[in-house]
């Protein structure tokens, strides 16, 4: 199977603190790659480097297309999502709480709609071409809402949804930009067992049906072990283990990192 993302010798320093130290790993197409590790291991920093929020001190990150590869370092800020099609969610949910669920999903399709609306000109003239495109965007939103079962709440404010639904909404909002790589930062945090089971189902659906590579940071081991194809374990910014879920469970280094070493 093809590589989707390769991270090579990634290093991120904040002053004297080395948050990520010479990290290299690959993520494959149509696979769920989990990054786990104790608190403060540098998992979210990896995400912030990948999605352009931080500029890494050193190292390269490549996103592979059929034959070519693009360097994520070149893109900053919104261009990661716009050009490189890397989408992400956040540890603390970042929806647009005062906007409706449907509007949240339409903002995710902003760039296509902006072109369709002739940078607002066609939209102001209310041309049919724009209205048709907008209908398509609504249909896409409805498609995703059907999947997570929130269609009936499409017109409610996103901030009024229960916590678990907000999590799912944030994931499908990220999917609305049609990403090639989806980075999820602790999607199961604060979910009850039933909700995390639903989350597993959703992620598997995205992986298989949408052919999207998923990069997952997670503490909830039932999620990690249940759906990961590949696990990367970090501790103090260094990769200490890499392998399948089963291998990880039995790895001495991983157990030591989480539980400490016997005296």
């Amino acid at each position: 199977m093809n590589n989707l993302l390769s991270v090579e010798n990634l290093t991120m320093k904040f002053g004297g603190l080395t948050a990520i130290d010479d990290l290299s790993f690959d993520a494959k197409n149509n696979q769920i790659t989990s990054i786990i590790g104790p608190n403060g291991a540098g998992k979210t920093t990896v995400f912030n480097c990948l999605t352009g929020f931080y500029k890494p001190t050193n190292g390269q990150m490549f996103l592979h297309k059929q034959d070519s590869k693009i360097s994520l370092r070149k893109y900053t800020d919104f261009k990661i999502a716009y050009v490189a099609k890397v989408a992400r969610t956040f540890q603390n949910i970042r929806l647009f709480p005062a906007m409706s669920v449907l509007e949240n999903l339409l903002v995710a399709q902003h760039n296509e709609l902006m072109v369709a609306s002739g940078y607002s000109l066609f939209g102001l003239l209310n041309l049919k071409t724009y209205r048709d495109k907008e209908q398509l965007a609504v249909d896409k939103a409805k498609y995703w809402l059907d999947i997570i079962g929130l269609t009936h709440r499409a017109d409610d404010n996103a901030g009024d949804l229960p916590y678990g639904d907000q999590r799912k909404l944030e994931i499908v909002r990220a999917m609305c930009i049609e990403p090639r790589l989806l980075c999820l930062d602790e999607p199961a945090a604060g979910l009850n067992p039933k909700e995390s089971a639903e989350l597993n189902k959703l992620l598997k659906f995205i992986k298989i049906e949408k052919q999207t590579g998923i990069l997952l940071i997670e503490h909830d081991m039932s999620v990690v072990m249940g759906i990961s194809d590949h696990v990367v374990v970090l501790n103090y910014g260094k990769k200490i283990f890499e392998g399948t879920a089963d291998q990880t469970k039995n790895s001495k280094e991983v157990i030591e990192a989480y539980l400490g070493v016997d005296e």
């Binding site: 999502a81 992400r88 009936h152």
Partner: protein
């Protein structure tokens, strides 16, 4: 209520009285009056005791009311009923309001003074709607909005007096100039949010005013620009005796000459301009760029993660908001026929921001109500001279106490999947 509570609230009121005494004692109690060769202090303790007494009584009543664990129902009931009407029957409400605005000049009680106030209120409504794009939708607190108003007014005045072009050519040019200045301000403040943005925009407003005062060669400094051409009714000027080869409005329509014609024309002009602003805002809110503005207000980081370009989004908000400020400025210049930097002080910005915030951020109807309320009240108390600002402040306090989110704070989604449910 228990006895303990009453004693407690009585103590509290007495304490309030003490504070009031400390404040009013020196400020109100010791009045300096000039008699002959110097200033003398005339005490007026009676007024002080009256004020302190009022404070104690007021505080006691507030305490009694909060002990009842229910709000003062009258005001909030009234306003919530009102916001329910404006929400559920938004269309009817808007049509009624516009119809009223259209027939207003011909109502029996409407005189010159009423028209002037109405024009002023409409100008503020237009400014409020323009600023609503920046503050209400995009969430960028702009305390220097008057700068664009000034740029619009001065561009109009300078173009019209230098080249002698008609109002309808100068108006869009002035709007463009203001939009350009909007982008100019937008660039340095792209990274700022909240308090920091507010301070920089406030500074920008002052910079423009100070340039207007000091750039004597162009702006004529503090003397201002005089003789700005009045607008004409499609080429028909409002003059008693038109120049050679010209027909004026009253001659063309065979009417008795009256200065009211021009006032009524100006009224309709600003009404149309304001309605255009409103229509444009309502339209653009439903377009991707409008949604991006609101998304930016809600969460900038999430916007970036979805590929929304925050730079362009903010700049368009600044530019479009500034453009409408510029239109309003041109109107102001043509109405007054004289402008000077004095008309564009910080207090104007503050009033416009107050209108937007008190109206309920992002609410178009709210802006109308807040303008009528704030400008109307200040005008109503004009006889009180300097004390009318107390009325202005009082109106603000009332709204903030009873409607902390603004008079009308309900937001309607820009697009619905299931249609309007009643």
């Amino acid at each position: 209520m228990e006895k303990k509570d009453i004693i407690q609230s009585f103590k509290d009121s007495l304490f309030t009285g003490l504070i009031a005494l400390a404040l009013f004692g020196p400020i109100v109690g010791l009045r300096t009056a000039s008699k002959g060769e110097g200033l003398f202090i005339t005490p007026q303790w009676g007024v002080v005791f009256l004020l302190v007494g009022l404070c104690i009584l007021g505080r006691f009543l507030i305490n009694l009311n909060s002990a009842r664990k229910t709000e003062i129902t009258f005001f909030s009931k009234f306003t919530s009923k009102f916001s329910a009407i404006t929400r559920d029957k938004a269309k009817h409400f808007a049509i009624t309001a516009i119809l009223f605005a259209v027939v207003f000049p011909f109502l029996p009680f409407t005189d010159r003074y009423f028209m002037d106030v109405a024009i002023m209120i409409l100008t503020y409504i237009m400014l409020g709607w323009g600023l609503n794009i920046v503050v209400g939708l995009a969430g960028l607190l702009d305390l220097g909005y008057v700068a664009f108003y000034a740029v619009g007014a001065y561009s109009y005045a300078l173009i019209a007096t230098t080249f002698g072009w008609s109002f309808w050519i100068c108006l869009p040019l002035a709007g463009l100039f203001a939009a350009f200045f909007g982008i100019l301000l937008g660039f340095p403040v792209l990274r700022l949010r909240g308090d920091y943005l507010a301070i920089v925009t406030l500074g920008f407003g002052e910079i423009i005013r100070i340039i207007l005062i000091n750039w004597y060669e162009v702006t004529n400094g503090p003397d201002g620009i005089t003789g700005i051409p009045r607008p004409s009714f499609f080429g028909l000027p409002f003059k008693r005796s038109p120049d050679e080869g010209e027909t004026s409005f009253h001659l063309f329509f065979n009417l008795e000459y009256s200065t009211m014609h021009r006032i009524i024309f100006l009224y309709y002009l600003i009404l149309v301009l304001a309605l255009i602003t409103n229509y444009f805002t309502l339209k653009i809110r439903k377009l991707p760029v409008g949604r991006a503005w609101e998304a930016l207000r809600e969460d900038e980081i999430a916007c970036k993660s979805l590929g929304v370009n925050p730079t362009n989004t903010k700049l368009t908000a600044f530019a479009i908001g500034a453009m409408f400020g510029g239109f309003a400025g041109s109107f102001f210049a043509t109405r007054q026929a004289f402008i000077s930097p004095e008309s564009f002080t910080f207090i104007e910005s503050a009033i416009i921001v107050a209108i937007v915030v008190l109206g309920g951020m992002g609410s178009q109807t709210g802006v109308v109500l807040a303008s009528i309320f704030l400008i109307g009240i200040t005008e109503m108390f004009r006889d009180l001279e300097q004390y009318r600002m107390i009325a202005f402040g009082g109106a603000m306090v009332l709204i903030m106490v009873f409607k902390p989110k603004g008079i009308l704070a309900n937001r309607k989604p820009t697009i619905l999947m299931h249609g309007d449910k009643k």
